[in-house]
């Protein structure tokens, strides 16, 4: 959570940590951090945050940025555990590159969204985005693969922009 708080500060806002339903009501933009999607899902369910998040997103009342584990939850529901939210119509394969030994850093090319050009992609036991529906906008690629996508006000990144000093992704997200 802390690297995201730092990135949001650098992008010019005053973020809060959301752990309870009351805190969730206070925000207009929510970041779902990395970590393990099973753990994240567990903590969200502990206070029934998932239901409120989904309702607010569907009402157009909340923007979401998911990185790594957060991106997994936002993908298309294909019956896996933890259950996905189908907020972005893309298949998200967990640990698609393998275990930690296959984690890597590689350049990411932006096509739209936060801007054009390149930024550093830190991929940690990263998921992979597959078969995006036509309404899903590809924001960035690494090689030929989509690594950041958007549908409506939901953004999913398979890498960790919060671990770099570059606040462009967070700044752009705050404008959504």
């Amino acid at each position: 959570m802390e690297p995201h708080l730092h990135a949001l500060h650098s992008a010019g806002c005053d973020p809060i940590e959301v752990r309870t339903p009351d805190q969730l009501q206070e925000v207009t933009h929510l970041v779902l951090p990395g970590g393990e999607s099973t753990t994240l899902r567990h903590l969200l369910d502990l206070h029934h945050l998932s239901t409120t998040i989904l309702e607010r997103v569907q009402n157009g009342d909340l923007a979401l940025l998911g990185t790594c584990a957060g991106a997994i939850l936002m993908g298309r529901d294909e019956g896996e555990d933890p259950q996905r939210w189908s907020l972005i119509d893309v298949s998200v394969q967990r640990n698609a590159y393998g275990r930690q030994i296959h984690s890597f850093i590689a350049p990411v090319q932006w096509k739209s969204g936060p801007g054009s050009g390149e930024s550093e992609g830190i991929f940690i036991r990263a998921p992979r985005l597959e078969q995006p529906a036509p309404e899903v906008e590809i924001l960035a690629v690494c090689g030929h693969e989509p690594v950041a996508v958007r549908q409506n006000r939901c953004v999913a990144c398979t890498f960790h922009p919060e671990l770099t000093a570059d606040p462009r992704v967070h700044r752009w997200f705050l404008g959504l």
Partner: protein, 305 residues
């Protein structure tokens, strides 16, 4: 898989590799890493919301009770645990036993714990961790020891505490001591840094880095004696960034419930209402041993240097 990704690590430099190691440690922050000895325990841990599991042959309290030589977990057991969980799987190697570490790397465990809980293989040398692609976590009782381990390549630290006792006092002591030593270092005039490096027995460049940044260069978690949700919240309040729980879960009366409660408490460590909720109806915690009354020879924290 297309060509670009068939070997993503190809050509990665040492500095980037270290950043990927620390990045995984960052992802575990705020979570609970649970010791498990079987595939069934690993499934319970994942179900309870653990961020990772530590695969081992016996939990520390059993190692303490049984005595003898404690070694790396059998390979089949690690594979079995890897097959049933999707969260990171860590495993322990003996201090200085770089061949056990090579075996664990070949198994593609996600983190290796060079651990004092196992019987040390080398009383003079720790593993040269920077030559491995798998990240390492090591125990530390003070700032000097922490920086020596980082100097060798550790990407995560944890307190040693006193494993297998269910007594949190030593983990508290180690966290407080490291915190005090960091704050003294940041306040010391810069010309004292070499003297401090000598006194701590720590690499000078890391002493300078901590003095300037006011924090350790890698995440520091708590381990050793954490048995209840309140213990987990206590170490988080004292600055630990995540919690390792060994015997505390599977030696308690109701492991799933204890595991859920410790995850809940670690996530909400600053909220007393949540903590009281997490602490309800747990049954008996693991039986404990007063860690301050242990004879010197039985103190696991004295292993390694």
């Amino acid at each position: 898989m297309n060509d670009q990704f068939s070997s993503p690590m190809r050509g990665i430099d040492a500095e980037d590799e270290f950043r990927t190691k620390v990045a995984l440690a960052e992802m575990l922050r705020g979570g609970v890493i649970m010791d498990v000895t079987t595939a069934d325990e690993a499934k319970i841990a994942e179900q309870a919301g653990a961020v990772a599991v530590m695969a081992l042959e016996r939990v520390p309290s059993d190692i303490r009770r049984d005595g003898g030589v404690a070694r790396m977990s059998p390979v089949d057991k690690i594979k079995e645990i890897q097959q049933v969980t999707t969260i990171p799987v860590m495993a322990k190697a003996r201090i200085g036993h770089f061949v056990e570490a090579e075996i664990l790397e070949a198994l593609e465990v996600d983190f290796i714990d060079e651990s004092e809980v196992l019987t040390p293989a080398d009383h003079a040398h720790h593993i040269e961790k920077s030559r491995f692609r798998v990240p390492f976590v090591c125990g530390a009782t003070n700032l000097g020891e922490a920086l020596r381990r980082i100097g060798e390549g550790a990407a995560m630290l944890r307190t040693k505490g006193e494993a297998g006792t269910g007594d949190v006092t030593e983990a508290v002591r180690h966290l407080r001591l490291i915190g005090t030593q960091i704050s003294e270092l940041t306040q010391a005039p810069s010309e004292q840094r070499m003297t401090i490096a000598r006194d701590l027995g720590a690499p000078y460049h890391l002493v300078c880095q901590v003095a300037e940044e006011g924090r350790l260069p890698v995440p520091n978690f708590a381990a050793g004696g954490i048995a209840t949700p309140a213990d987990a919240a206590l170490v988080m309040r004292l600055g630990a960034e995540a919690v390792f729980v060994g015997s505390g879960i599977f030696k308690s009366e109701d492991p799933l419930r204890t595991a859920l409660a410790i995850v809940h408490a670690t996530a909400h460590f600053e909220n007393a209402t949540e903590l009281s909720e997490a602490s309800r109806g747990l049954g008996e915690a693991m039986p404990g041993i007063d860690a301050t009354r242990l004879p010197e020879a039985e103190r696991l924290q004295n292993r390694g240097w």
